[in-house]
Symmetry: C2
């Protein structure tokens, strides 16, 4: 059997999923409802609709429909880069000398360089369907902004990206990819919004933050006719779209009669992890199968392993709805020395509830170890991974080495969410031996958690 | 039939070619022999072997063996990123409103970002087989250096890359990818070689050139025990390895019963074009089929369309063997305003002979038009193409628009050699409207051609 598994398992085009899977439908303990920040009551579709596209607002709140059809236009776009390969990491296994079989679902073979495109194209589609002129969003490092730019170019939608000023200046290449796709990229805080002007006045010379960029993007969406705001992670709608990753992974494994023992993914806002694990968690929730699911987070931003399960604001600016989630507090800002993404203070409410109920385990890892794993992986598997994805690589390697000790032939599946081509500043730091680790103290976390809203 | 062709045609792993195809075996007019620069007589394997790996020197000189087995170790590496997809450009066709069917063979889905890896892994393999410690090479923009670094990391070979100083400083990210793969990257001219010291003394503050970097790499190879020099294009051995592109393309077309009418590729040194077209040119040479084959070169470096078919040095430093080829003269240096690669003064001797004999046509295009085509392609097909590859896109679009006028349903196949993720400086110029065109004058070309060696 082993010999027959190719290096890359490609599904046929007609095996591309036709529906996204809404894992909430199978959860006995549903995620707590998101709350209107003004009333602190569960938010309604009417309240969400001025900010989000109506169809997306519906998806956000729907806890019972198990499957959503993927519209044909989105499937056609998916066909340009999906089904993505499930790769058997033969070379990594050989390098490690492990009896474990390692598989990774590779989402990096598209110009956005990551899984973000899976939801970007869906969100752009619904905006187009609603007859909107365009969408606004924020971006930090630029992966999400790039994906959204591509999606908007495809549907001929205007795309306005507020990019954290420090990234805008330090990551000019990401910015140029977005511009090539026709997006308008504005360094945030800008002088084009009221909130931007206010922040610039209060903090002259500030290089911006994600929280500030969100505020500007939301203001831009709500003050221009025919615009809505879109977001790249955390939300349940995003996780829903990302289930295309898990559904393909499961289909590819089933095709070759492989039963995963362990599923590993990196976790920032939780949408890629949630998308990867949903079909597997669904089987667990329905009592049909058992898997060991591990969410890997950076030690510098450990929302699952050291955060609190509580209602919190989704944004630093506290203008977005509140969600119940594992959080470090919306004031928590990870150390600037932390290289990759995965900097979000909270965690998708779906993933949080699955973790709370024991379906998902969590592990935190330090960044120099992550880059060491990334370097080894790049050399033997030929793919330079994104720092975010490398968190999953690190734990997959650890688990494969445990199998080497115990002699177990486990099937380890992990999500390789993207490539690191636009992260070479971080790799340079690592190559030069100048990378260091940062772990927040208990006091720092307690201080941030003390500011949780009283809900 | 049309409807059944998927967006991406992936061959199965067991359909990966087992042999490279040596088109010279089918050529009645063989390429003229390469000459020893010291004696001006056809060079022998013994004379080549101190510089090149022995097996590669044999491949270089072999004009009669039609097929070379691809060693299993190389095929195993190929499996990590090959077979590469042949993509039906449905979205581009729709955008253009053309009845033509457009296909592209996409070589960019690997970390080197281009087809260069196909030959890098072969050259590293033969170096390892010969028991060498390492290899040396030069790189300009860094695509070849990246590919070779990956290949050397895989086979645990030392890799020394002399990178043109101006690129070393302006393209730090390419440099870091190479370093991550363990390569030693030295800005050229350096103070580590005699020739480098001499050039630095004669031209203080020089930012280097490819010719100088070649000289340093050759010196480094011949003065260190257990090293050889390797090259990423132009040579017949490189073209041989790149036939994996054309063989897969043909197999994919055959699988779906598609007969190509036109095959288009960009041409710098000629190895990707030669590799793509070899199996098709072979059919033409054997009188079995007919195709329209178009080599696309930049108007700023027009070796086929405005050069001379003559013996010339392969390098600016005039230390490498002479080849008969279409050339602009080894002194020709394309304008610095030319953004992409495709800057080589000459053309693979195989491609040159096929062009001389009428099997290949050539067309030159200006760079702003090329970037315009690249932008359109990126938006509808979702892949940000390399500037080099975009030369082929430009002509494919032109030909598809001709079909729109005539109503012909031609099958147009082109080579998309790589991605543009490390070329964002050029895209920025284009996005900012600061890109201009350069076409050398007749006088400039005549002046450079006047320096051709008297052979």
């Amino acid at each position: 059997m082993n010999k027959e598994i190719p290096y890359k398992i490609y599904l046929e085009e007609n095996e591309l999923p036709t529906q996204w899977y809404n894992v909430r439908a199978d959860m006995k303990n549903k995620p707590a409802p998101i709350l209107n920040p003004a009333t602190l009551k569960p938010i309604t579709i009417d309240e969400l609709s001025p900010i989000f596209c109506t169809e997306l607002a519906k998806q956000e709140l729907d806890e019972t429909t198990p499957y959503f059809d993927i519209p044909q236009e989105i499937r056609d776009f998916y066909k340009m880069y999906r089904p993505s390969p499930l790769v058997r990491a033969y070379c990594l296994e050989k390098k490690l000398g492990t009896p474990a079989h390692i598989y990774y679902k590779f989402e990096g073979n598209n110009t956005s360089g990551s899984h973000k495109l899976n939801s970007a194209i869906a969100q752009a589609y619904y905006a187009k369907q609603q007859g909107l002129k365009g969408v606004t969003t924020e971006t930090g490092a630029g992966q999400w902004g790039t994906a959204l730019s591509m999606a908007c170019a495809y549907f001929d939608l205007d795309c306005q990206v507020y990019m954290v000023k420090v990234s805008y200046e330090q990551k000019p290449f990401r910015r140029e990819v977005m511009r090539t796709y026709g997006a308008k990229v504005t360094p945030s805080p800008s002088m084009t919004t009221e909130v931007g002007k206010r922040i610039n006045a209060e903090h002259p010379g500030t290089t911006g933050s994600l929280g500030c960029a969100i505020s500007e993007a939301v203001e831009a969406a709500t003050t221009q006719e025919g615009y809505r705001y879109v977001l790249g992670s955390v939300l349940s709608q995003v996780l829903l779209h990302q289930t295309v990753i898990g559904l393909e992974t499961k289909a590819a494994l089933d095709k070759y009669g492989i039963k995963a023992d362990m599923i590993i993914g990196c976790a920032g806002g939780g949408s890629n992890l949630g998308g990867l694990i949903s079909p597997f968690a669904g089987e667990m929730l329905r009592g049909e199968a058992d898997y060991e699911i591990i969410a890997v987070e950076p030690a510098s931003c450990p929302s699952l392993t050291r955060g609190k399960y509580a209602y919190d604001f989704c944004d630093t600016g506290k203008i977005c709805p509140l969600a119940k989630m594992y959080t470090l507090g919306s004031n928590f800002i990870p150390s600037a020395n932390h290289a990759g993404g995965l900097r979000y203070h909270g965690m998708s409410s779906i993933v949080s509830q699955l973790y709370e109920d024991g379906y998902v385990k969590a592990r935190s890892v330090e960044q120099t170890e992550v880059f060491k794993a990334a370097e080894m992986f790049a050399k033997v598997e030929g793919i330079l991974p994104a720092p975010e994805s490398s968190h999953a690589i690190k734990v997959a390697i650890d688990e494969a080495l445990k199998c080497k000790e115990t002699g177990e032939t486990k099937n380890i599946v992990f999500g390789l969410t993207g490539t690191g081509y636009f992260d070479m500043v971080a790799y340079q730091k690592y190559n030069d031996g100048e990378m260091s680790d940062y772990i927040p103290t208990d006091e720092e976390i307690a201080k941030s958690l003390a500011t949780l809203p009283n809900v």
